[in-house]
């Protein structure tokens, strides 16, 4: 099970046909205190790059994009009452949604952990 990363600071962890998606530790630090998260509804379909979720800090709202195309099988309902989980554990319990992938080859265009770390350093 490997983790891949996008230039918009989402992560995706693939397990068979289903992938878990969230925002990276770097993104969570940049956002600051998360006060609200809107996760997608089960059954919603997205193409790679679509607006998939919204994360809000005290100051501003930011869109979260689908790293790859797919259909939502689960949204992280726990974030509704505990949005701060995104700051506390962004790449674990702070996940946003699970997707059934429509085209696994889309994963090939994403960065691995080393490439993403270099990308964040600019």
């Amino acid at each position: 099970m490997t983790m891949k990363f996008t230039e918009d600071h989402e992560w995706i962890r693939v397990d068979g046909d289903v992938a878990t998606v969230g925002i990276t530790k770097y993104a969570a630090e940049q956002l600051g205190d998360v006060v609200f998260v809107e996760v997608p509804e089960v059954g919603a379909s997205f193409s790679k790059g679509d607006d998939m979720a919204v994360v809000e800090s005290v100051k501003a709202a930011s869109d979260v994009y689908a790293p790859v195309g797919g259909e939502v099988t689960e949204g992280n309902a726990a974030l509704a009452d505990a949005p701060e989980t995104v700051n506390e554990d962004p790449e674990g319990a702070g996940w946003f949604a699970k997707l059934k992938l429509s085209d696994k080859s889309e994963l090939d265009g994403l960065m691995d952990a080393d490439a993403y770390a270099k990308f964040c350093e600019g």
Binding site: D33, F36, S57, V58, A60
Partner: protein
């Protein structure tokens, strides 16, 4: 307000101090300003419980002096008050020495060009002069308007090369009094010249957070030393623009260019209280006919507090509906760290302004329940 033009950004005299304290710097009102240090929420809560230090040197402090050198004392004040009252609807003539007042700069249609604080200096040698602080984003146009309107009658001196800082929060008074003795004796909206060693400081008991606190105008070089000394106190932390915005929103205070602008009158902005009775009776300020008619009959749209009932913040520009019909718009909105809820303000049609009125906030295409509410969201802590 975002900067979109190519003018090079300026730095305040405290820029290096911000960087040394780990500030994240952003462009704001033509300056490179700290938006946050350790984080908006932590800075906000620190200011409400201890003392927060804000660099507001990007704003527009200035002195306006009437030109008739044969006048002094109360006569000189009456002369400069009559001049500034041509552009503002507040009773400036009636200010006592050392008293400050919030007012608005008006255009001929009664629209708000800026909000500003005007102070009558306490000291004898400055009678006939007003200390005025305007907003950073519009200071150049405000000052051009002053110079054109008052040409030959009054002289403007900009003081935005100096340091203007605010110290806000329940511990602010004890911290500041150790450096500027006598500041603790000021009450809300009072001002005094106080010396720190030999350095002259203009100290006003006011602010933009809903907390007790002070704003201090001081020369750049000694000011940097004073600010550095204050920041070394364990009760004081530097606070960025992010927390400045969430603090003022909880306190129900307007942000110019958002909660009011040239398309809104003071009555629409629920700032009718800045127009004292004597000025209503004289009806001699710009746009007075329209403003006084609204004062008597009410404005079509009025600024109100908005309490979202769910957890989704409603940002500026969010449309307000009742049963599918548009009735207004959010002008400031976010999350209030002290009230631990989303909060907002905006304009709604007059018949919907009663506190408790149910409204829908149209966030990302979906209706979210909210109520019109009283402002402010927190109990202010001003020293009356």
């Amino acid at each position: 307000m975002a900067d979109t033009d190519a003018t090079p950004l300026k730095r305040t005299a405290l820029y290096d101090v911000h960087v040394a304290h780990g500030a994240k710097i952003v462009p704001f009102a033509g300056y490179e300003m700290p938006v946050q240090f350790e984080g908006v929420k932590a800075e906000h809560l620190w200011t409400r419980s201890k003392a927060g230090l804000f660099d507001v040197s990007h704003m527009g402090p200035c002195f306006l002096t009437q030109n008739n050198r044969s006048l002094s004392g109360n006569e000189a004040h009456a002369a400069i008050a009559a001049i500034i009252e041509e552009l503002v609807p507040s009773n400036i003539a009636g200010l006592k020495p050392g008293q400050a007042r919030l007012t608005v700069l008006l255009n001929e249609e009664g629209g708000i060009l800026d909000d500003l604080i005007i102070t009558r200096p306490e000291v004898e040698d400055l009678q006939g002069t007003l200390y005025i602080v305007v907003n950073g984003a519009v200071k150049d146009q405000d000052w051009t308007l002053f110079e054109q309107t008052f040409e030959g009658r009054a002289t403007l001196r900009r003081h935005d090369h100096r340091i203007l800082f605010a110290l806000q929060g329940p511990e602010a008074v004890d911290v500041l009094a150790a450096y500027l003795p006598g500041s603790e004796a000021l009450s809300f909206m009072r001002s005094k010249r106080i010396f720190w060693n030999d350095v002259r400081c203009g100290v006003s008991r006011c602010g933009y957070t809903g907390e007790d606190g002070f704003e201090v105008l001081v020369d750049a070089e000694p000011g940097r030393e004073l600010v550095t000394a204050l920041l070394a106190d364990e009760r004081v932390k530097p606070i960025g623009l992010g927390a400045r915005d969430s603090l003022r929103l909880e306190a129900g205070l307007c942000l110019y260019g958002h909660d009011m602008d040239a398309s809104r009158t003071p009555i629409e902005a629920d700032l009718g209280w800045v127009i004292q009775k004597s000025r209503r009776e004289r009806a001699d300020f710009p746009g007075s006919e329209k403003i006084l008619e609204q004062y008597r009959k009410g404005a079509d749209e009025v600024r109100v507090g908005i309490q979202p009932l769910g957890r989704a913040p409603a940002r500026e520009g969010t449309e307000i509906e009742i049963r599918g019909e548009r009735v207004g718009v959010v002008t400031s909105g976010g999350f209030g760290p002290s009230v631990e809820k989303p909060i907002a303000m905006g304009y709604v049609a007059r018949k919907h302004t009663a506190p408790g009125t149910k409204i829908d906030l149209m966030i990302r295409g979906k209706a979210h329940e909210a109520e019109v509410c009283e402002l402010p969201f927190i109990q202010p802590n001003y020293k009356r």
